[in-house]
Amino acid sequence: MKGTQLGEFEELVLLTIALLYDDAYSVAVVETLGQRLERPMSLGAVHRTMQRLEEKGLVNSRFGESTAERGGRRKRLFTVTAVGEQALQEARRIRNELWDGIPKTAFGHLS
């Protein structure tokens, strides 16, 4: 079904939003993902992905409180919707099935 199809980066961002749970906003996502992936993240890319996720209905957003270090501006906090959770589960299921299907000997030459 179109709409629940997840790109790789989208999946990562969505997972990070779920991970951060109560404090999932763009800067936090940039920093967490940056650390985990061990590569610098651009704010622009994350922003656009989160917008796309919201358009697909995978996340909800609301304004949070404003802080001084943001120049008094509010942040936008994201939470994963039920549809989003379903999409993540689906992606995980497909991956698991694929992993399970790999014959033991396929990676043999590496060991």
């Binding site: 800067v27 704010l43 922003h47 501006r73 509010r74």
Partner: protein, 875 residues
């Protein structure tokens, strides 16, 4: 720890992003960037953070960033657009202007003056640029002209008379070749009693086919084909025959030629340089002026004998210059002369503008006018800005209330723009009226026919709104911004004024600009006036007063002798001479010279005048060596000037006496040397000149008269002249009047610059007045306090005066070198010129100073004399 100032992300980048980000994303995105910036700043230092901020900003750029969210859109359109308030803006504006009548009046007048000048200058430039642009295929029409390559190059609009025929017969690059001889001021008679002076032209039929002068009567295929026919314009036909049918009627041209009218041209448009209204076949020229069409005579070139061609499509002018016309030179001249006589094409579009080829108007003059127009518009905008900002202070309460009630900056700005539009609109109306009133004056001055017709002239119709917009924008935007920026709290308290960032320095520089423009124009006026006075009063080297110049329609020897005898009998006549051109005349021709027994022709060319044995004595030209000419009817003897002796590289004037010279192909003996005199205007220097008794060229008669008893003398001259030439019209002119005509263009420029300088000064005064009012309004309390504490009236006056004095000096420092440079360039056109002395600059600064003192003084004196009780009571 020291309190440290918080680091900030790059402000310009933040502003830029703020502008482009869609409103629904703006807050969070900028917040994110800020947060990241501060976190990174802590971690890696602020310079790196700043860099990363820019990188992030760049990476954010994506259509998603500025694409508006469809669901959010409705919240943002609820903002009332300036359009919705437009009606109200205008209503308020009109009420406001009605209340401040003097402010409105000053502004409308100064803007009106400036715009009126702009309209006139625009019309003038457009008129000149439109000259002869209405001919079909005009980009392929050229005039062949002659260049004389001696030691320097001289130009002549004409060609030798056989050239047109040689070009037509020998070469096929042109579709049409039209020879045309323009003869000014000939007598055309319908009957012996009914005669008129007209400019006539002898032209090939091809010429009339080339130019776009349509026939209203007659057959375009056959017109001018038969000899002794004529084509005249509708205007001339009406003048000659009233309502009668002119076709088939007979005309007599001068004494010799009778023609029958076969065609009527539509009246000539004003924007053409071909002003002849009577056209006669070219073949008839040999019946009328035989010497102009002497057969195979390639060595003389007359300005009036011109040749126009229309090239075939695809033929370039350069190739015709390089191949065809140079081939003509080498075919019809010997090797040396072919180098000397060269022919070139001049595009039709250049004819009106090329000063070397008798162009009517130089383009650089037009651009100078455009620049002056721009200056005037600038000063009037400056004025408006000054007055409007001064006025804005009085409106602080209104602005405060508007802001409290929810007006935004943009709305206040547009409100002010609406007000400006009303004023400028009124001013444009006034300006158009003024321009219409001034138009007859300008037309008379320039001897042109401009018209201001909004309906028929699409250019003017677009120019007016364009200038309105430009003026509204330049004069309204700055005060509008100032006004909109008022802080409501301060505005309501009436505490605005002293501390407006940047505002006052801008106003100062505006005043400096205004002063500088006024001074520039004043200096220009002074220099031009001085130079013209110098050239008109300077000694030309001959006597120019008390000589009456008459035309000589027929120079047969018997007639000249009779006329001389009759004139000499008159009581007031002292001397009579016949010649082709007066001592000072731009119409003098020049030619080559072969001196004595030298083996080669000289490299310089010599100007040649025809004059009889009484020429030098009548005009008071001293003979410094040898003797005057002997009476003769043919070329036997020559008089040369001192410059010619020098050009011949001879040591003394005596060395030239008695030698032979071949000038213009005619041999003669040099019998005398004249003292140098200015035989052209002061624009050009004195060059080699000779005078000889070539009676066939005599076309004018100079009569030295006694000024004491002028009336009867003139009547006597007219009586003898009219009985001698019954078919001609008696006209006379004093020589000094004729000389003044040289400086007609310069006088015109002087008049204009004077007018513009006066207008700039008037506008500048209004502006100064506004600025001083503004300062006084600001400082009312200060003056009150000073007076209470014992300040004197002169002390307070100086308080205002010193500021303006400083601005004036700054403006002078800017204007003086510029003025010197421009005017020096203008003076370089004159060979005999004044030097720009310190006096002119002193006068210029004194004039501006005087004007400033009067304008500023009046207003500040009023303030200084006011009772301090009044200004201090209100607090």
């Amino acid at each position: 720890m020291k309190p440290k100032q918080r680091a900030q992300p790059p402000r310009w980048a933040e502003r830029f992003l703020e502008r482009i980000i869609a409103p629904h994303l703006r807050e969070e995105t900028l917040g994110d960037l800020d947060e990241l910036f501060h976190k990174r700043g802590h971690r890696y230092g602020y310079s790196k953070a700043r860099l990363l901020y820019l990188v992030d900003g760049l990476l954010l750029l994506h259509p998603r960033l500025w694409r508006r969210n469809s669901t959010d859109l409705r919240f943002h359109t609820s903002k009332p657009a300036p359009i919705a308030m437009l009606g109200n803006y205008f209503k308020v504006a009109i009420r406001k202007l009605n209340r401040h009548r003097s402010y409105t009046l000053i502004n409308v007048l100064s803007l009106g003056l400036g715009i009126a000048c702009a309209i006139l200058i625009f019309t003038l430039i457009k008129y000149h640029l439109s000259f002869d642009t209405f001919h079909a295929n005009r980009d392929r029409i050229y005039r062949i002209h002659t260049e004389f390559h001696g030691d320097k190059v001289r130009y002549n609009t004409g060609v030798p008379n056989p050239l047109g025929e040689a070009f037509r017969k020998g070469y096929s690059v042109a579709e049409k070749v039209g020879r045309v001889a323009f003869l000014p001021k000939r007598v055309v008679a319908v009957s012996p009693e009914k005669k008129f002076e007209e400019n006539i032209a002898f032209a090939d039929p091809d010429f009339l086919n080339m130019v776009n002068f349509p026939l209203v009567q007659g057959n375009p295929q056959t017109v001018l084909k038969d000899r002794n026919t004529a084509v005249i314009t509708d205007r001339i036909a009406k003048k000659y025959f009233g309502t009668d049918d002119p076709i088939g009627k007979l005309l007599q041209v001068d004494d010799s030629l009778h023609v029958r009218i076969t065609g009527i041209l539509r009246d000539l448009p004003p924007n053409t340089d071909f002003r002849s209204e009577v056209y006669i076949p070219f073949d008839n020229l040999k019946d009328h002026t035989p010497w102009m069409v002497e057969k195979d005579w390639w060595f003389s070139v007359s300005d009036d004998m011109q040749c126009f061609i229309r090239l075939k499509p695809g033929v370039s002018a350069a190739s015709v210059d390089n191949h065809v016309l140079s081939a003509i030179s080498s075919k019809y001249y010997n090797k040396d002369m072919a180098k000397y006589f060269r022919f070139k094409l001049q595009p039709l579009s250049d004819v009106h503008f090329n000063p070397k080829l008798k162009g009517h108007t130089e383009k650089k003059n037009l651009w100078a006018f455009a620049l002056i127009g721009l200056f005037l518009i600038m000063t009037t905008c400056v004025n408006f800005v000054n007055l409007a900002t001064a006025q804005a202070l009085g409106r602080s309460k209104e602005i405060g209330v508007r802001k409290v009630l929810g007006s935004e900056r943009g709305m206040l700005f547009w409100q002010f723009m609406a007000e400006t539009t009303v004023i400028v609109g009124l001013a444009t109306g006034v300006a158009f009226g003024l321009a219409c009133l001034a138009l007859p004056l300008v037309n008379q001055l320039f001897e042109i026919e401009l018209s201001l017709n909004l309906v028929k002239d699409p250019y003017l119709l677009t120019f007016l709104p364009a200038i309105l917009l430009v003026v509204v924008f330049f004069s309204g935007s700055y005060p509008g911004l100032i006004l909109a920026r008022f802080q409501p709290v301060l505005a309501l308290k009436g505490r605005l004024s002293q501390h407006q960032p940047g505002g006052f320095s801008l106003r100062k520089s505006l005043v400096v600009t205004q002063f500088a423009i006024s001074q520039l124009l004043i200096i220009g006026t002074l220099v031009i006036a001085n130079q013209l006075r110098y050239s008109q009063q300077a000694n030309m080297g001959f006597r120019k007063d008390a000589v009456v110049v008459l035309p000589v329609p027929d120079n047969k020897k018997s007639k000249i002798n009779t006329l001389t005898a009759q004139f000499s009998e008159l009581a007031g006549v002292e001397n009579v001479t016949f010649f082709d051109t007066a001592p000072a005349s731009e119409d003098v021709g020049s030619t080559g010279i072969w001196f004595g027994s030298r083996t080669e022709a000289e490299t310089f060319s010599i100007s040649i005048k025809a004059g009889d044995n009484r020429y030098a004595s009548t005009f008071g030209i001293p003979i410094v060596a040898g003797r005057d000419l002997n009476p003769s009817d043919t070329i036997r003897e020559y008089l040369v000037n001192e410059t010619a002796v020098k050009a011949l590289r001879l040591a003394s004037n005596r060395a030239v006496i008695g030698k032979t010279a071949i000038i213009n192909g005619r041999k003669g003996t040099i019998v005398g040397v004249m003292k140098d005199f200015h035989y052209r205007s002061f624009h050009t220097g004195i060059e080699p000149l000779c005078i000889t008794t070539r009676s066939e060229n005599y076309s004018q008669c100079g009569v030295k008269v006694n000024l004491a008893n002028l009336g009867p003398t003139l009547a006597g001259l007219e009586k003898s002249w009219s009985s001698m030439y019954p078919s001609s019209i008696f006209t006379y002119q004093f020589l000094d009047e004729e000389i003044d005509r040289f400086y007609k263009l310069d006088n015109m420029i002087l008049w204009l610059i004077q007018a513009f300088a006066a207008i700039a000064i008037v506008i500048g005064c209004l502006g100064l007045y506004g600025l001083v009012s503004f300062m006084i309004a600001q400082k009312t309390k200060e003056i009150g306090v000073r007076k209470v504490l014992g300040a004197s009236v002169p002390g307070i006056l100086w308080l205002f005066g010193k500021e303006f004095f400083r601005l004036l000096v700054i403006a002078f420092v800017l204007a003086a070198p510029l003025a010197w440079w421009v005017m020096n360039g203008w003076l370089n056109d004159f060979v005999y010129r004044i030097e720009i002395g310190a006096g002119i600059f002193a006068v210029a600064i004194l004039i501006t100073l005087g004007i400033a003192v009067v304008t500023v003084g009046y207003r500040s004196l009023k303030a200084a004399l006011a009772n301090p009780v009044k200004s201090l009571r209100s607090d």
